[in-house]
Structures are given as C-alpha cells and as structure tokens.
Subunit: 246 residues, 2 copies
C-alpha cells in the first residue's frame, strides 16, 4: 500500500512573532498512521513541527509544512508525482491568511467622512498599499483590524491531482446536532468528490472519547468512539478497496 | 531567594479551534529558572502548556495560563499575596484579543452608503452586537476582518503590585539598529518603573546565539550572547541586590 496522510493544523503568520494557529494536535493523524504502519505500507505523512508524530518506521516519510500555501505546494508536488492507494486528509487547514492590519485611527484616517462603496472598499481589501501591508503591529491603539484573505480550498484540489485514489476528507464542527454534522459532511463529500468523509464534533472529543462518523458516497454511515477505532475503520476501507481492485 | 518568572507566549482564542499565538518557545525563561535552581530558591514559574519547561525541582512551582487576561489574574494574585526578591517577566504577551470577525459582505451591509464617522465607528468597535461577536468564522467570503481590542499592559501593573521587588522586563524587537533597540528598552524601563530591562532583537537570536543587552536605571548596559549567559547576568543582579540588602 502507498498512502498519504495529512495531520495537525496549519498556521498563518501575522508577523515575525505572531501566528494564527489551528489547534489540532495531530493525535488522530498519528493514530491513522499507526493503524497502517504495522502493514507493508509506504506512508507520506504531511504535518507541522508542532504536531504529535507517529512512531518512526522504515516506510514512514515525514514532510513538514507550516502554512496553507505550503501545504498546497507540498500536496500538489506529491499528488502529481506519485500514485497513492489512499489519501487521508485529516489536517485542519486555515481558511484565511492575514494580509494587513490597520489601527482604528488609520482606518478612520482613510475612510472618515467618505461613504463606503462596494467597489472602492473591495479594491482596498484586495490591494492594500505597501504601507498598509507592513506587518508590524502598533500596540498604541484601542482596536486593531486584522484583514485576512481566503486561502485556496485544498480539499477541492485533491481529486483533480489524484483521480483514482481512495480519498478521505474530514469535517470538524463544534457542538451541532448530529443531523447537521452529517449533512454538512455529506455536502463536502459530494462537492469535493471524496470517497469518504469522517465527520466529528469537537464537543464529542474529550479524554479517550473521539466520536466519529464515517460517511460514504452511498449514504452509509459507520460510527466509532475512539481515535484507534476511527483509524481502524479507515484502514479497513483502504484494505477492502485494495483487495477488490486486485 | 523567592522569585517569580514568566516565560513562553500567551495566546488568544479566536474561536474554539483557532488562536492567535506568540511564538516564544519559553527557552530563555527555562534558562533563567535553571540559573536559579541550583541555589536555595523558591520559584513561582508562570507559563503556558506549549512552552518548554525547566527541569523540575523541589523549589519550582508551575502555574499555567493561556491568555493575557489569565496572566493578569495569575500575576495579580501571586504578586499581591507574596513578596518576591525578584520578578522576571520574560513572557511574550499578546497586545490584542479578538472580539469579533466580520466578512466583507457583512461589513458592507452595515456600512455601505453611510459616511464613516468617528463616533459611530468607535461605538461599533467597542460594542459589537451579539450577532457580530458570534465567534464562528464563515469560510465563504474572500476577506474577513478580525477586530481585536487592546489587552491590559501587564508590565505596567507589576511595580504597583510589588513595590519593592527587583523588577526585570524584556523588550523584543525585530531587525532594528542597536541604538533604536536600546532607546525603546530604556523608555519601557522608565515608563514601567523597572530595575532592569533585557533588550533583544529577533534577528540576533539563532541556533546557540541569543544576543541580549541588560540595561539598568543608571544607563549601564551589559551584553551577553547566549541564553545561559543572559540567565547568569540576571541571576548575578538578584544575588548582588540580596547581599546588599542584608
């Protein structure tokens, strides 16, 4: 088996001493890697320097990234160069990256007395001046506005880079009804042409509990209650597919 | 000796899965604690769960915080309850904490066609509606504005909570001329009634190098080039003061 796993959470630099970070510890990705590592399996494992790592073994190759853009570049390279039996994208990806920060005084200086119009405002957001993108944060203001732009949606590229792989996405929501969680996950599965999506809710992840629902394209849902069980479920799907393909 | 050390970097939650984090590793604070730990010394060590920790020993008590507000509360409690020979505040503190995030669409919906006026704009920044402070981030917008408000400046409270301690502040700048670094540090020393300030520049912190300048109230500057040497310099100042007081 040859598989690719992403794990942990990206972070986006605000300046040289501050970042916006996704909290994901990498623990689930580690469990998944370990479910595969007892087998004869080559794993490309894409993660961050602050994530927990799976135990090292011969078949495991680590690739470290920090930002969403770096993750994009790394996955594009790996997925267009190699062929994987499965791609398991468990990493929490930052949706936005900071482009400028503006004190309330500077914002008022720019906009005060002018009616805000869509075009000029959008232009300013999209093309801040060099002065405005200086990343140094002034600490002498009551309010600071951090302007962020949307990152590429990495999950939407995976199928195009790797048309025949068994593709697993992940959807984490916070404290929503189970129906909503499954519906949102199902939508992501369809939109991004995934084979499976693991839906989970932060309020159901605690100590040894990690409740996850594995959805497939046909509307089947399987449930697991620990990271090891989730990992095992995913491993079985990859193994079944491999055996059916033979 | 009874001392208090802060180390590492605070982080501020944006929502339940994202934070703004200061990168400080806690390595300098660890070196400082270890310079004191061979002595007969009680150390209250205030840090975060992601920071490197000094080696445990009998005199060392750890206190974990996450946000600037938690740091404020913890320091207020310790510094108004106990008396310390020295307070060494090396933690990197977030200047701002997120209060709301607004998509460009929502911002336009609120402000479009209206001239921005200082009073109404400041009121909005200071008192966002409940809807606007919902912390869930929509990912379906090109630009997101994260509005942050200033945190209390912790260093300005330390002297008032602990009038007679030997008080060390830290000033980290990024790639500035030495004269500017020393001038900014000197200003912090005066403004916050510190006894010493350790001035350092991120561009001079690399591998084993950590260049630091220890400034005192009389304009004296001592230089060190490693974390261990900085820690030793600070330890010597505390020891000298203790001996002179006796």
């Amino acid at each position: 088996l040859k598989i690719l796993i992403t794990a942990g959470g990206t972070s986006e630099r605000i300046d040289q001493v501050r970042s916006i970070t996704n909290h994901s510890t990498g623990r689930l990705g580690k469990a998944i890697a370990e479910a595969f590592s007892s087998q004869d399996c080559q794993i490309d494992y894409v993660t961050t320097r602050s994530a927990l790592l799976p135990e090292a073994h011969e078949g495991l190759t680590l690739h470290f990234i920090e930002t969403t853009q770096e993750l994009f570049n790394q996955l594009q390279e790996l997925l267009t160069k190699h062929s994987y039996d499965a791609v398991i994208h468990s990493m929490a990806v930052s949706d936005f990256t900071p482009v400028m920060n503006v004190s309330e005084e500077d914002f008022l200086e720019k906009w005060q007395g002018r009616p805000i119009e869509q075009e000029s405002f959008n232009n300013w957001l999209a093309e801040p001046s060099d002065k405005e993108t200086e990343t140094k944060i002034s600490s002498n203001t009551q309010h600071l506005m951090l302007i962020m732009k949307q990152n590429p949606k990495i999950i939407s590229y995976l199928r195009q880079w790797q048309p025949n792989t068994l593709l697993f996405g992940f959807k984490l929501l916070v404290d929503v009804p189970k129906e909503e969680l499954l519906a949102v996950a199902q939508k992501s599965l369809e939109k991004n042409k995934l084979d499976f999506v693991l839906a989970n809710d932060l309020s159901q992840i605690k100590d040894s509990l990690h409740r996850g629902y594995l959805l497939d394209k046909n509307g089947n849902v399987e449930e697991a209650e620990t990271k090891a069980k989730i990992a095992e479920l995913i491993y079985q799907k990859v193994k079944d597919r491999k055996e059916n393909v033979r």
